[in-house]
Symmetry: C4
Subunit: 249 residues, 4 copies
């Protein structure tokens, strides 16, 4: 992952997932509020969509896991090099672990959508787990790096942890559209922040690299993080307006 | 904002907002409890008041944003000075960002009051967001300053974070007057604490400046913070007594 | 407060308050469960008891406030010594502030018990406020002291904060006897821990003083804190058994 | 406890307890969902099982307490050595304290199962208490040790604290199977992590000891912790599948 692409890819995935969840969440709310029977039975539709969602998440996670292991120079499933007496590519294994938990989320999503007796909240539980594991791994990920590198990853951990916290709280209390959209807005933020990290640490333009020990950059990235969030909110607002307009036009 | 006025203005705004919300909250409670129909239909009244509130908040935020940008010596919407190779007036942009999120709160307030299909809790969500962003920015705001300067801003972050936390919890659980008044008391505290920061860092009397590295000042400001809160509670109590007495006299 | 008595007095007060609340809480639970009409109408009884409780708390707080100010060598309501150019007895003012908030709790308790239109949860709110203020002041109370001194006060802050947290959560969610007893058990712990602090910092026996920089003492006080809590639990259990046995014998 | 066995024993106990609770929890859910009357009246069965559970937990705790005190070289109930002027075996007393609180949990479990008037949530309360005490003691347990030793114990504290937090939240809000399984999964994690600590600090194979100051080991144990959790989740999933299949075959 130590390059621009390695940050842009998960960023894009989280962003698209966020956009998709926003649409689904608002559609569900609109259908529920107006009790309108669309030409497709919405329940069956949403059910199939859940399965598809699970398959895509599991598939993406599997791709990520295989990619981390078998890229040229990857660990190729070796964990410990007995010759050298040291661990092999631990950062790669870190990413592998995070993908694995998102894979579990995907599998749970599929199982909960196909087997009726399973409580639906298992999916939410696995989502919280996947996010907490992601946050936990990233928290222990940046040992010995430069200040700015640590700072951008800390903000990443912050947004991941907040997303997980909301998913966790949703286990206890009946969810509503506001809380759900809040959680999704953090997903969008995570996605676009991955891009930002890519731009800061591995500028793709070939332009001048960021000074990793200049505290002014920390001051700027603080507000940049907020602007990313503002954009996430505006995107959700736009989707809300569009979906509501389209489905009741 | 690096002067007395720059702290007194937002302080006054938050304080007046807090006073206003206290009155509204207690009036609502009194009307609800006694099911009394006043000469004005209270529902319609409160509805119009909400819109007015949104307009005022959005207006104040816009004023703040423009002020930060176009005061003499402000950044004038320039973010990066390519000649000097450095960021332009990041602290001004910090304030700009905070105002922007309060602007979003104002806009949401207006939209939720005019469009029926929008969930009312969106306003609460944007309030929590605006407060968390404010706290987050202030938390990263005081790099390299003196001990006392950092301490008074830390207390500011504390009260902002607590206010945001309560607004956040209100998303999950049905709100009641006690929780609402608690949240508002923190608003009053924030408002008067802004004044206190102004007095500590930029004494308007021209009297002797505070010693920024004397730990005794930290010890005093600790209890001073509590006294501000005591005053906030007493003010709310007085408004409660006055409103209840007036509306049932 | 810088002596054994100064810690034993509030400790005794909190402990007795805890014992009293335990009895009241269990009696209420027993009456409610068995719907038994005792020879005294329990509702009226509990109501009067609440007022009495408020008067005692307010009285104790007032005594504490006056004591802190007018003991020989106390600040006598002077806050700043303009001659010396320094604050007068800030630690005394710290204690004064804490007592003041418990005074507010007492006053609220009286008001909520006498005025019907006031929500009963105001008392809970003022309790949470008094505890958070107490924790906040103690947190900033021990600057520049020895390790063990700081450690015992940190544990005090921990238990105060936990008590406040539970009182705060009770604002949001319907309380039950388990949660209430948990909160009260922390009150007992706070009371007995005040005694422990007195014994550690100002041994009344005149025996050898504790070594304030020996880490073994920290290790011991860690488990000592847990033993205090175990005793609090056992006391509550004993009261539970006694009250249940007495009221249904 | 300063050897492999001392970590393997509690680990095994927590793990078996976790497996047992998983089975019980899923069986209860299955019985409730399908309202099936098995050949044994399930309510009476579960009731007796609760008592048995309490006896086993209390017995194990008592064994642990006696073991800590009377092993060769143990403190034999001596707390302070007046000759040497120092505490006797504080780490042993630390373990003793933790066992004591689990003993209280066992006793409460028995009492709540046999005495009807006791609220059932007392057991949950004592579970939270036992876990918070365990976490609190472990947090203050590793003073002056090597980096890796502290790190593995920090992760232990993390999982213990999370388990306690969930048990605490269950006091406030009606529990459901998802939350319960989450709590149990943390128990399994705690159990297997005890084993991992044993392997890291006291390798039973006699193989090369782990380098306690190598940061790569921290990086590995970070993901190792997640893998333990993944295994806990997979075990719960397998038990879920097996129990559901068996009870409806």
């Amino acid at each position: 992952m130590g390059n621009f692409k390695g940050h842009a890819l998960p960023g894009t995935f989280f962003f698209i997932l966020g956009i998709w969840w926003t649409t689904k969440c608002i559609l569900k709310y609109a259908f529920k509020k107006h009790k309108r029977t669309s030409y497709l039975d919405s329940k069956v539709l949403f059910h199939r969509v859940e399965i598809l969602e699970g398959i895509i998440i599991a598939g993406m996670a599997l791709t990520g896991m295989l990619g981390e292991q078998f890229i040229p120079g990857g660990p190729h499933l070796t964990l410990y090099d007995y010759k050298e007496g040291q661990w092999v590519q631990l950062l790669g294994w870190h990413h592998f672990t995070m993908y694995f938990f998102f894979g579990l989320l995907g599998v749970t999503n599929i199982l909960c959508s196909t087997i009726r007796s399973l409580p639906a909240s298992f999916t939410k539980l696995m989502l919280a787990n996947a996010l907490f594991v992601e946050g936990f791994v990233f928290y222990n990920h940046t040992h010995g790096r430069e200040m700015l590198d640590i700072f951008v990853h800390k903000l990443l951990v912050l947004v991941i942890f907040l997303t997980g916290l909301i998913a966790f709280l949703e286990l206890f209390i009946l969810t509503n559209i506001t809380v759900e959209l809040l959680r999704i807005s953090f997903f969008l933020l995570q996605g676009s922040w991955f891009w930002q990290i890519g731009f800061v640490l591995y500028p793709p333009s070939g332009g001048p690299a960021w000074d990793l020990v200049d505290h002014d950059n920390v001051m700027f990235l603080t507000i940049c993080f907020c602007w990313h969030y503002a954009i996430a909110i505006i995107i959700i607002g736009a989707i809300y307006a569009f979906v509501t307009w389209k489905s009741f036009a």
